[in-house]
Assembly symmetry: D2
Homo-oligomer: 358 residues x 4
């Protein structure tokens, strides 16, 4: 793929810096004539924005999206859409130390080695703040797949540490600040996060994303594999250490006779499956089951505890990070992960249309 590009037909490019002027995304190849309200994009951004609850970073950002191009009289024109979110609460003073010190667990060292000249303020382009552009682009992608195909996407925090949702009630997800579909477990999660934060530490978790109403036939074999396309999107967030589909790591323990999803005929035109162990994708192609992806989210790299690290001259130094950070990334990774799945599905949906009428 060309540098900084996701997708072939429906494409997204990102831009911006954590403590620069703005962050955002360029969406190209969106179908024309799609009715789109800024509120629909803003609603998704509000789910991602910092400072939304006591378990997220205290950075104050309104994250108002500006749709600067590609819209005309309330509808998309099919031309490139520039989405810009101006940075507001840009206090870079706390980052002055990072001009020379490389934060452990972050991209700082790799960026320093690869790019030399580096915007050290909050990680620049590598900051989690860049996911605002992803979420904004994803809101348009959600609209595309919903409007033209009926696909809808739902994400939630499945686990934090060893606390795991026991019941999945999607209606509960947005009712608690950790976005857990199990309200009881959600309460425990909040307590755990608060405890971890008080210790100056952070914690990992699991985010699950589901696409429902996916038509048969999206994706392709081999290098056009839908799982590969999704993974490429998911890994743009920087915080993902594992991605599973369907039974995921559990497939290791299973027999073929257990794992194989047996198809049956719902109607004469619509096959269905008794199980969904493969997570909705077989041979790289969607099979009409729900697509189920599960992302392991690493603990936030920025922590309050002092850490040993290197400076830009590769000398040993000690570092205490005093910026504002999420003690657990999961609650805000939910809308980000949904957006990345939506962007990928919008692209493969368009590509499938290129062929489906033949």
């Amino acid at each position: 793929m060309p540098t900084n590009c996701l997708g072939d037909c429906f494409t997204v490019n990102l831009f911006g810096e954590s403590h620069g002027e703005c962050v955002g995304a360029l969406v190209s190849g969106c179908p024309s004539g799609l009715p789109l309200e800024i509120e629909e994009i803003q609603k998704e951004l509000d789910r991602r924005k910092p400072g939304q609850s006591k378990v997220t970073t205290a950075r104050k950002e309104e994250d108002i999206v500006h749709v600067r191009t590609g819209m005309f009289e309330g509808k998309t024109t099919g031309m490139p859409i520039v989405l810009i979110i101006e940075n507001g609460d840009v206090d870079s003073s706390k980052y002055e130390e990072m001009r020379t010190k490389l934060r452990p667990g972050h991209a700082d060292l790799a960026y320093h080695a690869k790019y030399h000249h580096r915007d050290h303020r909050g990680g620049g382009f590598s900051s989690g703040r860049l996911t605002a552009g992803i979420v904004a682009a994803g809101a348009i992608a959600k609209k595309v797949i919903g409007y033209f195909s009926g696909i809808n996407i739902a994400g939630y925090t499945k686990a934090i540490g060893n606390l795991e949702a026991q019941n999945i009630d999607l209606d509960e997800v947005e009712k608690n600040i950790v976005r857990c579909p199990d309200p009881k477990v959600a309460e425990e999660m909040v307590k755990l996060i608060e405890k971890v934060r008080a210790e100056g530490d952070s914690i990992g978790g699991l985010v699950e994303v589901i696409a429902r109403g996916v038509p048969l036939g999206l994706g392709g074999p081999r290098f056009d594999n839908l799982k590969g396309a999704l993974d490429r999107a998911f890994h743009s967030s920087g915080a993902v250490t594992a991605i599973e589909y369907g039974r995921g790591i559990g497939a290791r323990y299973m027999r073929g006779s257990e794992f194989n999803d047996l198809p049956y005929s719902l109607t004469r035109k619509l096959p269905s499956f008794a199980t969904n162990n493969s997570g909705g994708i077989q041979g790289g192609i969607s099979n009409r089951n729900e697509i189920v992806a599960r992302l392991t989210i690493r603990p936030t790299p920025s922590i309050g505890k002092p850490q040993k690290t290197l400076d830009v001259n590769y000398e040993a130094v000690s570092l205490v990070i005093s910026g504002r950070h999420d003690p657990c990334l999961c609650p805000r990774m939910v809308p980000v992960s949904e957006a990345l799945m939506a962007i990928t599905l919008a692209d493969v949906l368009l590509k499938q249309r290129a062929y489906e009428k033949f």
Copy 2:
């Protein structure tokens, strides 16, 4: 990406069918002047070929590679390299039933729905046999990354079912037929596979792939993320249900203060890390640690037991698959996974060179 294409600089396209004339790969963008012996490619193919042991399929294929273009007097010319492996043991009679019956767990149903006209014999292009082309292309990629950068890649079967290697001794891997780096566990694995095969069933496992000697700076941020590029390659095999890097799914349980890999200075020019929880990739970019990827491999979909499924008219039918199949894919997925990592690293290595002298 264009259809059927992996990579930007060093690219691979696949072709062929399980029971057609041949399988193979086209490699483009390989640097010129690389000394390359056909034996180097053949050696890798021999590790993948069917019938190599009692735990693999009984299909008899010599899998002799033909390098038809792109070489001149023992060296690559920089021009496209066509690698062809002729099919030999093509007994399609056992597949006649699959002309109408869609094998559960395979791509058959998705292909039928997406492409309508389908080569049913052994799955056609969706067959695991296509990974021969991957392994052949990967042999060239291994040569590229070894010759120009010193990267070498090692894969092994880490687990089958609930049997897991306790000691990792890379010298042991090729000494046993399951390619397990722990000889004691290897013996148990062989027994388990034989038991599963006797039951007409199959079993899943874990394959781990490691790249050593990786320079700092391969990959890029966001959509140019090296994990995303690797995943896109790995998922081309069709049998992968989860991909982890470093601590992978274990990151969920960790605190940031545990997970963060603390850098220290090996020498003034070469940073190193006390741990490798992030699996050698931070912010999408290689950090000089070993790249550690772990693939969950699903149990082989083709099993001897009778299964309920649909035919091409979506009518319920019963199916007994009488072809020859691997009861566990892991042993042969080891060279395939290595090849996919090598291809990806060859590509990002070239791309990095575009920038590194600036």
Copy 3:
């Protein structure tokens, strides 16, 4: 674009060498279920093959195409199609001198400088012989655009030297060996080429390619411009020094009031144009007029006359090229140019389908 790749949906990769084992093409993303006879491909190759008349090279090649993958029971499967043409008349002895001497007007010097290790025999991958793969792939593309859209493509030699067709009768094109649509001028052209050949020289000309029946809306604005896509294809031949659309270089002398193609309504649903000065493409998008592209073809670089040049050590040497060469490339560039237009239109036709139902 990835190395060696043309197209996004319908893609072509080339491979082979002039005096290696074979030449050919890999076609990916061809729609499935397309009925395709090898004869349809062979017929196009026969139009391009060497030795077909007294005005072409004397190299004897049957140029039999082998469709090695991607077909099943007479129809495409949607999977990659490998087209291979074995080299027969490979007499490399005449090229031994070119191991060190760089032929003027050819890619030899640029290849030597860029790739160092070079297949000097007949130019290797840079040989005009590689256009056999283009023509074979183009035959499939022609089938795609004809079957699914009704587009058909016609090319012809419009001019050789200062001889220019005065009447365009497409039925005449294949009736004369220069493929000129004006039989009278064709006779003069043959004489001119024979005269030039007798002098040990070569001559240039004009090839025009026309696509009829093109639907409204193929291509896109700016970087998705259809003229840009076509040019990228046309320049793969190596012999093109100028590409014009519609009035082409004549547009320079025109007023806007003359040049603008005025639309009128053929029927209420189908606009038409009084003129076709823009060659069927406006704002990068097909406008339902014929697409008219005109390629200036340089005189063949290989000539019998002695020439001064350099060797691989950049020492001055003299060279007499004794291989067999076309004194004028136009007659054989006709099917090649048609193929390149067909490949490009097949790709944009598929891409347009991705959007057209919205």
Copy 4:
């Protein structure tokens, strides 16, 4: 290529509308650490901006560029660079008629048919105004190729109508308002344009662009051909009807013995050529000669004279365009063409570096 994307390593995406909020470009893959002054970008934009002389449109735009991302302390960071030019003089009232009427010679009809929902105000994304983003991105590309390779690019108006520069003195180009390198002919050109404008008409011309100091080896064979890459860029402007390299259309009349550029040895390491008929590119690869591209520019489609056309219901209507337009595009196409060549060369220069050290 993905939608709306030019380049692979150094990439450009465009956005904006003629009468929307802004126009601009996103540049990705620019090397980090490049010192860059906004003035350097602004200087190029000033050469393109409207209202700069009596022979250009009267639209008043300051065209101030804002570099919103990708820069830090005066240098590029290697991260995406957003360049935005706010629209100022947006008087859309004159375009209300074009809501339903499709302007002849423009993309209006093709856009209407392809996208249905269309920003009719000044052509939206298809407007020549979008070339401001190209010029801004090109200024960065010029910096890249100059800083890292010594390539510099010069463009000029070679001809308008039948007036053609007889002497090429590059120092004269910016001294006259038509950017003609021959001051005497420049005066006649100004008179011709004024005459044409007075008639409510427009006129075409020729723009030539030259790259000097190009290293050996940029580009590649076949589909990686440098001429194809350049053409794809040039055609993004929308006003180009023919592109020639070196002798261009003149090659038709030449013998091979005349056309072949004979190499000689300037020094032992640097070949040179007695002539430059091939325009600096052989076999798709730069040969160290100047790259010489010549673009035929059609007469401006917007003219003051009444024209017959269709409305969006394909009913016949008459149209008088009362907006402000350039009577000849050449003077402003000079910086645009330079920018497109610079962007393409920056990309192939980076790609060449991927291979050159091997």
